[in-house]
């Protein structure tokens, strides 16, 4: 078992590191909303789907989950492309509320499908390093938290460079700023939305793997992570990768500190409370416009 030091540096550092993981979890949601103005209520379940996929790869193929991303990322990328192109895209043409309702239906489908295949039992991705701890001076931290944070930085860096430098990234950006103007530039905006969703799913696949390595998960875990992702996005403001990062850290800290002072059972409650406070006080978030 990992030992916790009886002072605050541990919960604080863990909170910050955890924030990195939360940022990656939220990044997909933020991207989809920024580009298509769709709040994907199935997002949390898609993250968990990523975790279960990694679990399947681990248990059936014996592949390490991080290496298994080689399979997981393309699979979820293609799935995301399909979901946007054939489900959500049609829904946008139907009515205002249709995409939301379909996302809701999707969420239920994923939860129950996952439960059918892998049972309601709690699962986890256990590897040689998922339980190790790393020491720096008087501090002992779970190694996986540090890896999560490093991965988060890497993913955010890659995403921001992609959006800024490639034609596809700029086209997605343009489509989200002014769809009609983008079309007049020769951009197939519907395809851009599909790509954006697919990229979001690729990021979600990564989030799912590292989530599974860090925490145990059940088919119902999706809701909690949707709330966390939503909270991060609300805190950090839309369309800001940096904001998502800061939001993640704030929520991570909220959880670890609340667990430290009030016990582990209050962790999610702390998140709910913060989300509601932010909504009441400053709904556009810290970085929001």
């Amino acid at each position: 078992m990992i030992e916790y030091l009886a002072d605050l540096t541990t919960p604080i550092s863990m909170g910050i590191l955890l924030g990195g993981l939360y940022a990656v979890i939220a990044l997909g949601l933020s991207l989809v909303f920024g580009v298509m103005k769709l709040i994907n209520v199935a997002h949390g379940d898609l993250v968990i789907l990523g975790s279960y996929l990694a679990y399947a790869i681990l248990t059936i193929l014996g592949m390490d989950p991080i290496i298994g991303l080689v399979i997981g990322v393309p699979v979820l990328f293609v799935l995301g492309f399909g979901i946007q192109k054939y489900l959500l895209n049609r829904a946008f043409h139907v009515s205002m509320e249709a995409p939301l309702i379909i996302a809701f239906g999707l969420s239920i489908i994923i939860q129950n499908l996952v439960q059918l295949i892998w049972s309601p039992l709690s699962r986890g991705l256990t590897t040689s390093y998922s339980l190790a701890s790393i020491g720096a001076g008087p501090l002992h931290l779970p190694l996986i938290y540090v890896i999560d944070f490093a991965v988060a930085l890497l993913v955010m860096l890659i995403l921001s460079q992609f959006m800024k430098r490639t034609y596809l990234g700029k086209a997605i950006n343009a489509s989200s700023q002014d769809s009609r103007a983008a079309q007049l530039m020769g951009i197939n905006t519907e395809r851009m939305y599909a790509f954006a969703f697919a990229i979001s799913m690729a990021i979600t696949a990564i989030a799912g793997v590292f989530l599974g390595l860090t925490f145990p998960f059940t088919p119902q875990s999706g809701v909690s992570f949707l709330v966390i992702a939503f909270g991060v996005v609300i805190l950090g403001g839309l369309g800001s990768i940096l904001g998502t990062f800061v939001g993640g850290i704030i929520l991570g800290l909220a959880q670890t500190l609340s667990a430290y002072y009030f016990g582990a059972a209050t962790q999610m409650l702390a998140v709910y409370v913060i989300v509601f406070i932010i909504l009441a006080v400053r709904p556009q978030g810290i970085f929001g416009r």
Partner: protein, 328 residues
């Protein structure tokens, strides 16, 4: 809101006759299973109507309706533990729901339509957690998981519960008609058409949405409380469960959003599905989810919307207004 007396159309007479028949069923000794089926139908009808009011007419895709069901149920249970008769509990449940809706409206309404859905999704989850940890009355845990018995329900007959459900179900339909013809309904139509224009024409958008939200909360709560009078036992996992939300959404969508008849037809199908899938608890929600997605893609206007667009509607209404085969 002014009460305009409906014209005595043929359709109305049929409806009244039907209601009287349904009301008399427990008295004339109809089988228990029928009563249960119709009982659930009326409860779900009330919930579906409210969801239609919120999502269909007001643009508020509320995913937190389950919260009101649970809150009302818990209020009912707690008041019976405090020694009050069950109807006080039902009333109390309605009041608690109204107050709760008022309280959360402030943070939740700040969210533009799309954020709103997630914001509301959080609420039942949070409540589930709260009621899991919190024991407001009574000492011991009953059967694990912070559940409560509803005291004194054995004294109430199935007929009484049945009639309560009937009242709330029919009442919700009448309420819908009243609202849509009132000033509130006009405001809703304006908001749906163009929120900014409506706001600049003096429509108090927040007030209207708040009123609708509270009405939705109260009526859903009433239905929930009545359900728990029947069930006799409440615990957090099922009280705040997403199944409630799924059923009311499915009922409304299958029947037809933004129609008055839609929830009625949709609820018939939803309750039928409910009983059909009850044996296959594992895949019940899965099937409902798939049906929801397919309906939304293929027939988004629902059954009522679809028949309105085709000749079927005209033929049907001709059928009901001509007595003896005066075929055109």
């Amino acid at each position: 809101m002014k009460l305009t007396l409906p014209r005595l159309s043929r359709g109305l007479i049929i409806a009244v006759v039907l209601i009287v028949v349904l009301a008399l069923l427990p008295v004339i000794g109809a089988p228990k299973s029928w009563l249960l089926y119709i009982f659930l139908f009326f409860l779900y009808l009330a919930m579906a109507n409210m969801w239609n009011l919120l999502a269909g007419y007001s643009g508020l895709i509320s995913l937190c309706q389950a919260a009101f069901i649970g809150l009302a149920g818990y209020t009912l249970a707690i008041t019976t533990w405090l020694g009050y008769p069950f109807y006080v509990g039902i009333l109390g449940g309605a009041i608690v729901c109204g107050i709760f809706a008022l309280l959360i409206s402030y943070p939740v309404f700040r969210l533009a339509g799309i954020y709103f859905a997630i914001g509301t999704l959080v609420v039942p989850e949070a409540l589930r957690m709260v009621f899991f940890l919190w024991r407001p009355v009574g000492g011991e845990l009953h059967g694990g998981g912070a559940g409560y018995m509803v005291k004194g329900v054995t004294a109430i007959s199935m007929s009484e519960i049945y009639w309560f459900a009937l009242i709330i179900g029919i009442g919700s339909v009448i309420l819908m008609r009243m609202i849509l013809r009132s000033k509130l309904g006009l405001g809703l139509a304006a908001i749906r058409d163009n929120t900014d224009t409506a706001a600049s024409s003096g429509v108090d958008v927040f007030r209207i949405k708040l009123n609708v939200f509270i009405i939705g909360a109260v009526v859903t709560g009433l239905a929930g409380a009545i359900f728990y009078v029947y069930q006799g036992y409440i615990e957090p996992i099922s009280a705040y469960n997403i199944r409630w939300t799924m059923t009311m959404i499915l009922a409304t969508v299958i029947g037809g959003l933004r129609t008055i008849e839609g929830p009625i037809i949709g609820t018939i199908i939803a309750v039928f599905l409910h009983f059909l899938l009850a044996r296959y608890a594992g895949i019940s929600l899965l099937v409902q989810g798939v049906i929801l997605v397919m309906v939304m893609l293929l027939v988004p206007q629902g059954i009522v919307g679809y028949t309105r667009e085709t000749r079927i509607y005209r033929k049907l209404s001709q059928l009901f207004s001509w007595r003896r085969g005066n075929s055109p």
